[in-house]
Symmetry: C2
Subunit: 331 residues, 2 copies
DNA sequence: AAATATTGTGGAATCGATTCCACAAACATA
DNA sequence: TATGTTTGTGGAATCGATTCCACAATATTT
């Protein structure tokens, strides 16, 4: 393997001088510099990052923990982060937990052992053990999506977004609202959005029907099933005239079922989701949804992390992002 | 920082012994082992991967170069790779070129400097410079999506897939086929698929109309524009009764334009794509497309790479994956 | 011409692990 | 008891860079 020592020999200078050329530090005569650069060019020498990191304690690598690779949301967030990190010469080391909470902790340790300069966690379910692990991580850290006490977080305004969407449905004259959520262990998506829905219903003095509130699992199929349940429970009695799915995919699954049932959207029933997935534009009719601007979340998180890295201060910074309503024909 | 030396002191053994406990190598008395493990548990010590890699020349990191983060295809491929790598304790270091060919080379070097154990390139456009860079990379390497001479590749059967799809349209009784491709510098998507289309047309003795062959750019908008051009050129004369877009998004863009024009799909005109994007199932009508099983491509590439890493042989292995037709209502 | 300031270079320690080797202790065998 | 074998441990070199420090060679000032 090509090392700094060999290069030094070939250029007839010392290792120190080569290092100086590489890092633009200290005094190097123009002549020596030229010779070194020539040899580097010639040999294609690339300094070992490991040796460098060992010495400098900096790796220029950011660890990112995703709940699931290749979901649209993850992709967008990572994209946003990448914009910022790339600009500053940082690489992303990706890990995916596939929704396994145990792995989240495992990866935190792993990333630490790789001496990443910082960690970004795209969080779903937060338990106290994980919190503890994070707090004693002692590394620049930012969470996205969930509010975790004691660390910097970039979160969405889930409560307000859900409330606003529900109020929009009500403003459209809908009075019998159904709801499809997810498990409340996901505080942001499961709990906050549900509360937003409930509070909007209450605020407007409408009837909150527990039997019209179902749980899905983030995918289209579960939205379909949940909708089926709701319709089943409604039986021949009063019937929902709107359904709010906490994710686009859930809403789209619901739409599928409704269409099969021969119901017209939005004439018979309105449908709304959250997430502004690309697919939401192309279903029929186009789905009304909330854009969370995930790229921005990624960018913000990256910026906050870089700030932490550069200032060495571990400030607990909280950023709550805005949502943007995309009103389309489904309501 | 916690080092092996400190642990050794605390456990009252030598550094060597700690290392042996960590790596299950050499003789360690039960007593010494217990003490060491206790201290490690207590302190939460995690060995530095850099020091380790410096010594062992193994990083357990695979560099992945993507053309674009967060496209559905990339996501699926990375997902597939991750399945395999995770199982073997490898991490993925992600880089994205955002379609900048210059960056592809830059990242190859960068990954080398990080001493990744191998590199997977999801290729789009291959020029000779890049080929050269790859050949002198001297690292386990696999390309996905494009066939590059001299290195292992996992490719799709683009020619046959496009030909088969075209023949399906012909079998449905369509005779006036339009085509929306992409730039041919992307050999697989741009050139091979186009050839498949052309050869199918010729084989069946149909008329190949150059003016009905347009170029798009992978996104929905460009499919829309390309379709507009084709219709414009057709003017009042003979009119296409089918259009084949080389990606689902292009096809969907075309569908959008056709619908706006008041044309009925598939009554007036058939539409087909390639890629089996999720969205293809939910447009109206559902799009006929080819499933390339990208996860499998990622898995295969990962397996081939691991083989190269483990055997140290640099065999040039070529895998061509099959396609699967998904016939839906758009034709 | 002597004293001082500025530049360029190499020696050597260092980062945190692994691993070869030598040695010592414990045990078994003749 | 003397000898050989098995185990357990630590010393020290090593991986490939960075960086402090000392020194030498110039250049500049008195």
């Amino acid at each position: 393997m090509l090392t700094i020592k060999k290069i030094a020999e070939m250029a007839q200078v010392s290792r120190t001088t080569v290092s100086r050329v590489l890092n633009d530090s200290g005094y190097v005569s123009e002549e020596a510099r030229k010779r070194v650069l020539a040899v580097i060019e010639e040999t294609g020498y690339v300094p070992s990052q490991h040796a460098k990191s060992l010495r400098t304690k900096k790796t220029k690598v950011i660890g990112v923990i995703l709940p699931k690779l290749s979901t649209e949301t993850s992709g967008r967030i990572v994209n946003g982060m990448n914009d910022v990190f790339q600009e500053h010469g940082y690489q992303i080391l990706l890990t995916s937990t596939n929704l396994d909470v145990q792995k989240e902790m495992e990866y935190l340790r792993l990333l630490k052992s790789r001496q990443v300069d910082g960690v970004i966690l795209i969080a779903t379910n937060i338990n106290s053990k994980l919190k503890e692990e994070i707090n004693q991580l002692n590394l620049p850290f930012v969470a996205i999506g969930q509010d975790i006490s004691g660390v910097s977080c970039v979160t969405y305004n889930d409560y307000e977004a859900a409330k606003a969407m529900t109020e929009l449905l009500i403003a459209k004259g809908r009075k019998n609202l159904a709801f499809i959520g997810v498990d409340e262990s996901d505080r942001a998506v499961g709990y906050d959005r549900k509360q937003g829905f409930i509070d909007a219903i209450k605020k407007h003095g409408l009837l909150l029907r527990e039997e019209w509130m179902e749980k899905g699992k983030f995918d289209i199929e579960s939205g379909y099933e949940a909708m089926k349940q709701i319709i089943h429970k409604a039986g021949g009695g009063p019937f929902p005239d709107a359904v709010f799915g906490v994710t686009d995919r859930i809403a789209i699954g619901a739409m599928q079922f409704l269409r099969e049932k021969g119901l017209q959207i939005p004439k018979d029933i309105s449908v709304a989701g959250i997430g502004a997935s690309e697919i939401s534009r192309f279903v029929h009719p186009p789905l009304t949804t909330m854009d969370y601007e995930n790229e921005k979340a990624g960018q913000q998180a990256a910026q906050i992390l870089l700030e932490q890295i550069n200032t060495n201060k571990e400030r607990e910074k909280k950023v709550k992002l805005n949502y943007r309503l995309l009103e389309r024909d489904s309501i």
